[in-house]
């Protein structure tokens, strides 16, 4: 067992609120150390009050325990603060396939309006904001004016 094996095992840990994304896809898994059977893991929350963090800690422990790793320390780091820039390209594709518009890299990098590039269902760019706050802290709610479907947008952060 080495560090890479542990990182592979941890890809089984998903965000309970967006179960298609692993904690590494999301960029909240910051570091893994492995020495003499002791594992130290550093994670960072997406939002301060993200209720998924407690579940994620439990899931990390239980998935590592399944592989015989019981000496696990999980530390929360706040700085540098999590940003959607840390979300992997693969993660963004998975989000889109799941029906959530991924953070648009153009919108996130410029001072422009933070909005999705297109409807994740029909790919139309004819969309409007319903609410800046969605079903979880990290999402906003949009509506497609062509296919009429409402959809979640993973906000730039």
């Amino acid at each position: 067992m080495n560090k890479e094996d542990i990182i592979n095992i941890l890809s089984e840990v998903k965000d309970p609120e967006i179960p298609v994304l692993s904690i590494s896809d999301l960029g909240i898994l910051r570091a893994v150390e492995y020495n003499d059977d002791a594992v130290e893991i550093r994670i960072t929350p997406t939002y301060s009050g993200c209720p998924a963090m407690d579940v994620i800690r439990e899931d990390i422990r239980s998935v590592l325990a399944k592989h015989g790793l019981k000496n696990v320390e999980i530390k929360q780091v706040l700085s540098p603060a999590w940003t959607t820039e840390w979300m992997s390209e693969a993660g963004k594709q998975k989000l889109k396939a799941y029906g959530i518009a991924p953070p648009s890299s153009q919108a996130c990098s410029s001072a422009g309006e933070d909005q999705p590039s297109a409807c994740p269902h029909c790919h139309s760019e004819n969309i409007e904001l319903i609410s800046r706050f969605g079903s979880t802290a990290c999402k906003a709610l949009y509506r497609c004016l062509d296919c009429q479907e409402p959809f979640d947008y993973f906000k730039c952060h």
Binding site: P45, Y47, S48, G49, C50, P51, V77, L78, S79, P80, A81, W82, I130, S131, R132, F133, G134, S135, A137, L141, H157
Partner: protein, 257 residues
């Protein structure tokens, strides 16, 4: 308790009490999307409060080994006069206009404060501020849009905003009136004196009030302050809030789920 720990607890108390007030709207928001919005803001604030309480607890345990103080002790087992939040944030929700204005006044202040705390001599305070500032920017944007929409809306919504201003304006002066723990935090480089944010706060607030066709605020002619939340002298609202928020831990000490 040392003054720096009190300063950190003050930052936590502001976030917790306003977060709790906002959570009272959950299930009662005027429309579903705004119910979700105010609940999300509540969640952000309670999360920020947890980070500050955890930091304060760690610091207190270092100063007083064996006490084993936790974030829950700080949130659930202190009495009214031990809370150091601003009077503004404990005010009752009233109608949507009052809730919005309270959020707008506070978030504008909190955004300016976190921005200064990025330079804190405490790397933990700087880290929490860096994290929180991103969330606060959303709160400022959302509440500014609502102030404008209501102020420049119908006669009814405009009148309600005027009533909200009358009710909340007396609590603005306290924000910028420094107390012991702020002097100590500023001199140690951990925190700042709130006065340095005053000019910018009035500029930003007045620019939105202007867009909302609401009267401008003046930093002069502030009413004399008798209550001081930062010194633990609160309005009657906080006791009622705590009675509800702390009920479970008081009735069933140490319970968890």
């Amino acid at each position: 308790m040392d003054l720096i720990s009190t300063y950190i607890i003050h930052l936590a108390d502001n976030a917790l009490i306003l977060g709790h007030r906002n959570s009272e709207w959950t299930g009662h928001g005027p429309i579903l999307e705004q119910d979700i919005a105010i609940s999300n803001i509540a969640l952000d604030l309670v999360g920020q409060a947890r980070n500050f309480y955890q930091l304060a607890a760690a610091q207190l345990n270092e100063l007083m080994p064996g006490e084993n103080i936790t974030e829950d002790d700080l949130a659930y087992l202190r009495d009214v006069n031990e809370f150091t939040n601003l009077i503004l944030v404990e005010q009752s929700n009233g109608d949507w206009a009052k809730t919005i204005l309270r959020q707008f006044y506070f978030s504008t202040y909190q955004g300016l404060l976190y921005n200064e705390l990025l330079k804190s001599a405490s790397s933990e305070i700087a880290g929490i501020s860096e994290k929180s500032l991103k969330e606060t920017r959303y709160h400022i944007k959302w509440s500014s849009e609502w102030v404008t929409r209501l102020g420049d809306g119908t006669e009814e919504s405009h009148t309600r905003m005027l009533d909200a201003m009358q009710s909340l304006n007396p609590w603005i002066a306290e924000i910028f009136t420094p107390v012991d723990f702020e002097y100590e935090a500023a001199s140690s480089g951990t925190g700042i004196l709130p006065e340095i944010l005053k000019g910018e706060w009035y500029r930003r607030v007045n620019s939105i009030l202007d867009a909302a066709t609401l009267p401008q605020l003046s930093s002069e002619n502030q009413p004399m302050q008798i209550l001081s939340g930062k010194n633990g002298v609160h309005s009657e609202h906080l006791g009622n809030l705590l009675a509800e928020m702390q009920f479970l831990q008081r009735e069933y000490p140490g319970s968890s789920w």
